[in-house]
């Protein structure tokens, strides 16, 4: 253990040990008068919840309460919305369709299940179970809509790549040693790009044969070029452009002064640049989106930030909503961080994760990242800040683990 690790461990222990049993609210059922007489700096809600928790746990009414909870949970979901794989209207699958990997709400060891969801968000099609006790890194959807690819990292260090035939619900898998955090189809779906920001990035064919190893490690994020010939990856201090076929390093674009850890998001053909999310040195967050011109005719420049985006926390400046830099359809921006926005009642404020931008740049799909009964997808107008569509249905007793929107673009 390094000296810093030891220092951190001791500091955390010192602070945690400062909380003693006598400091906690009494673990008994307080009378209403006691609740009302709590000192103002302590939460009334806290005491009430203590009362509820302990009382409910201790009393015979548990059975009645549990039944009521089950009823309430299930009443918000109509199982009729979940249909079998054979009912998928394949001729309609395209823009707006989403692959959802869902996990049981509580039992983390139960199998995860893959669904296809129509653009309304109301109709779910159960494709297949994809395994249990694995840690999923990413799920990708092929351009022809017929296949999905998922990464499962096992405890023993074996990275299993799942190749899922969505038409038949069949799984084919192969193993690539290592823990992979992302998978994306390249070469028109003939190959897969696997990456782990701390170890390696490789391109493999669909049998698991390694075609290309990209030199170096500590790469953050990867974005293939629109023509499928190049690959941008970030490092601590720069963006690096590789030949996707050979793995040769073609170009290094240094991060400007004051920025580091740049994650490439997408390529723009309008001004031949790579848009990357960079962290600001010495600032905990947020990062900024910078445009790196490939011809190095000018230094990388931060994108303008429309006013509404200033409230987006980690993705501040993540996109530019104007006419000079367009967002590629369905560009995934979720990897850049969470959006912290206020949404109208009765939805909760905050806790929303921005996942996709629509083809007109103005609608974002968001999802709550938490495993609660309230997982909700919504479409949100990034200019007005208003919610324009809301999806609340999902399979009973599950939480959305990963969502991938179909991308028609360049892969």
């Amino acid at each position: 253990m390094s000296a810093l690790e030891d220092r951190l461990r001791r500091a955390l222990a010192a602070k945690a040990d400062g909380v003693t049993p006598s400091m906690l609210a009494a673990a008994h059922v307080p009378a209403e008068a006691e609740v009302l007489s709590l000192p103002p700096h302590r939460s009334h809600r806290s005491r009430r919840v203590v009362a509820i928790a302990v009382a409910v746990a201790a009393m015979v009414l548990v059975a009645v309460g549990a039944a009521a909870v089950r009823q309430a949970t299930n009443s918000s979901v109509d199982p009729a919305h979940v249909r079998p794989r054979s009912a998928v209207p394949w001729d309609q699958v395209g823009p707006g369709w989403v692959l959802e990997l869902v996990a049981p709400m509580v039992n983390i060891n139960a199998s995860h299940t893959l669904y296809m969801v129509d653009p309304s968000g109301q109709q779910w099609y159960r494709i297949c179970d994809v395994g249990r006790e694995f840690y999923f890194g990413d799920v990708a959807w092929s351009r022809d809509t017929g296949r999905a690819f998922a990464v499962q990292n096992q405890v023993n260090g074996a990275g299993i790549i799942l190749d899922i035939d969505l038409h038949r619900g069949r799984l084919h898998s192969f193993t690539i040693p290592g823990a992979w955090s992302s998978v994306q189809p390249v070469d028109s779906g003939r190959s897969l790009l696997l990456s782990n920001p701390w170890t390696a990035t490789v391109k493999v064919d669909l049998t698991g044969r390694v075609e290309t190893r990209f030199p170096g490690k500590d790469h953050f994020g990867s974005a293939p070029s629109p023509d499928g010939t190049k690959l941008a990856m970030g490092t601590e201090s720069s963006l690096e452009i590789f030949d996707l076929a050979t793995g040769k390093l073609l170009q290094t674009l240094p991060a400007p002064t004051g920025y580091h850890y740049c994650l490439p998001n997408y390529w723009t053909t309008i001004d031949a640049a790579v848009i990357a999310q960079c962290e600001r040195r010495g600032a905990p967050n947020p990062g900024r989106a910078l445009s790196f011109p490939l011809d190095r005719s000018r230094p990388p420049t931060p994108l303008a930030v429309p006013a509404i985006w200033s409230d987006l926390g980690l993705i501040e400046g993540g996109v530019r909503v104007n006419h000079s830099v367009l967002i590629r359809y369905a560009t995934r921006v979720g990897q850049a961080g969470s959006a912290r926005i206020a949404v109208p009642a009765p939805l909760r404020q905050g806790d929303w994760e921005l996942t996709w931008l629509s083809d007109n740049d103005f609608l974002a799909e968001l999802i709550t990242p938490e495993a609660t009964d309230h997982d909700t997808m919504l479409k949100w107008d990034v200019l007005s800040g208003k919610v324009v569509d809301l999806h609340t249905n999902r399979p009973p007793g599950t939480t959305i683990f990963w969502m991938t929107q179909w991308q028609p673009a360049h892969r």
Binding site: L4, A27, A66, T73, V151, P284, R340, G350
Partner: protein, 167 residues
């Protein structure tokens, strides 16, 4: 095989793990009142699921997930409130009530820890205080093991930069 955890076990879990969970929550949200709220909410959520949990280990894992999620929600609510009110604590001021009696060297580390992004702070806290494995942290935070590793490495590196020492 699913083994239902009975109501008596809720009380046992509450008495056994409440203090540790409140301590975890304090490390994540900085103030005791919020930490207690987070933990009580976790037990309420746990009670709603109690008949679906396999065993005590699964129960504790679920409670830990609830505490981390609850702490994150509390922090974000706080940040949204600050943003809209245009006032509020600066990062260095947070945690003053729970750290007043600590040695300077500990306060310095905790101040630096608060400057990290939420995810990195959560990973480091779960790793260096809760002593969880990468897999357990991934489970608690709902992220991949690769993300745990990267957040831990980047968090330590950033912590070292802030403190002016090598990670």
């Amino acid at each position: 095989m699913t083994t239902a955890t009975g109501p008596a076990d809720v009380a046992t879990l509450y008495s056994t793990h409440r203090l540790a969970l409140v301590r975890l929550a304090v490390l994540l949200v900085d103030d005791l009142a919020s930490a207690e709220d987070v933990v009580q909410d976790a037990f309420i959520a746990f009670h709603r699921r109690v008949d679906q949990l396999r065993d005590a280990d699964a129960a504790l894992g679920y409670l830990r997930v609830c505490v981390v999620n609850g702490a994150r929600s509390a922090l974000r609510r706080r940040q949204v409130a600050r943003r809209y009110s245009h006032v509020g604590l600066q990062p260095d001021e947070a945690g003053a009530d729970t750290e007043a009696l600590l040695a300077d060297e500990h306060r310095e580390v905790l101040r630096a820890l608060r400057k990290l992004p939420d995810r990195q702070r959560e990973v480091l806290t779960l790793r260096y205080w809760s002593d969880l494995s990468e897999a357990q942290i991934a489970e608690a935070l709902g992220i991949s093991r690769g993300a745990v590793k990267s957040n831990a490495s980047r968090g330590m590196r950033r912590l070292g930069e802030i403190l002016g020492v090598s990670a």
